[in-house]
């Protein structure tokens, strides 16, 4: 049980995918202009990351590994992720039009989020079992959501702050992200992995 908790803490805070591993930076900057969109994106990513971590684990363990086709890993994982994203969108549209409205365009966009493929590949690299893979994916998406929502809240405030002209817009956002990354380094001593 404790190693599961350790995986969660490690992926959310210590080895945060965005601020420590620098994966998934595109949506981190792309959809962090407003809190609402950031929350929508976070929910969609949490959905997809957890599901695709499970699906890619199953593909690896039951198809690629036994047949000795591990060199097809990357391409097959991308196929799996695309299918999971598509499938999720259909299910969400049917079961909860409200959620579908909130997530909107962000759902399909997740296919190209490199954190999703990163989680799938890291799961294989670190030889996680089924439960660990699922938790790793879930933790990664929690960490992603946490920093994305924090960052979008910061950006909404920075928008009205008196920033030197040369730093307005993306430059100050990049600096903010850098400072956040520095802050998250403080977690590094918390867990010895």
């Amino acid at each position: 049980m404790s190693e599961y908790a350790l995986i969660l803490i490690s992926t959310v805070l210590v080895n945060n995918f965005v601020l420590v591993k620098f994966l998934g930076l595109c949506p981190f900057f792309g959809v962090s202009k407003k809190i609402e969109t950031a929350i929508g994106m976070s929910m969609a990513t949490t959905f997809v990351l957890t599901l695709s971590a499970i699906a890619s684990y199953l593909t690896e363990a039951f198809i690629l590994e036994p047949l000795g086709l591990t060199y097809l890993r990357t391409i097959m994982f991308i196929v799996v992720i695309a299918v999971v994203v598509n499938f999720t969108e259909m299910v969400v549209r049917k079961t909860s039009p409200l959620l579908h409205n909130v997530l909107g365009i962000y759902l399909p966009l997740i296919t190209t989020n490199c954190a999703v493929l990163g989680v799938a590949l890291l799961n294989v690299q670190q030889a996680h079992n089924f439960m660990e893979s699922a938790l790793y994916g879930f933790g990664a998406s929690l960490g992603f959501s946490l920093v994305l929502i924090l960052f979008s809240a910061l950006r909404e405030r920075i928008n009205v702050a008196d920033v030197p002209q040369a730093f307005e817009g993306v430059p100050i956002a990049l600096i903010t992200a850098g400072l956040m990354a520095l802050g998250f380094m403080g977690f590094a001593g918390m867990v010895k992995a």
Binding site: V91, K94, V160, D162
Partner: protein, 215 residues
Amino acid sequence: MMTAILVAAGLALAFGLLLGIAAQWFHVEGNPLAEKIDALLPQTQCGQCGFPGCKPYAAAIAEGRADINQCPPGGDATIKNLADLLGVEPKPLNADNGTAKTVPMVAVIDEAVCIGCTKCIQACPVDAILGAAKQMHTVIAAECTGCELCIAPCPVDCIDMVPVAIGIEGFRFPYPQTQRVLLAPPLATPTPTVVDQPANAKLDELTRERIVTHG
């Protein structure tokens, strides 16, 4: 080599079948476009677009009988949302339909001129004006919605509308948008009155927003 091709093709086939079945299973009746457009409109029912309300205007847009730039209460934000929904280029507001207020405004009472008649207090729909008979009045800026309803009743014309300066101190996170959009239609039905003046239309929208977001 053969296994690789077979596995890849087999997986692709399986996934394709899965998605195909899922598409059948989870088939959703396509939302009528007019309803989506209606959800984006501000629901002021002001009629400034030339249609009797937001719903008829939405229907007209859906059928291509009206352009997307005829809604002054919604302003540029609504035009942009409509353009995103319909996949067309946003365009400036049609001047024939009125003008939109681009910056938030707040009422300010010139306290030296105010005679303390309390007429503006009665007119204020959000109780943002403080004062008593024969006493000087003043506006609580944080409560003022900029509806301009207090300007007309003032006998000495001492109320001015000034733009709100938004700085880092005055920053407040905006109210959640989705909530308002989702709750607007049921609230809009009991008051289908067509209002002509832009000020009233703006007020209508603002008061509803307050009602919804504050409970």
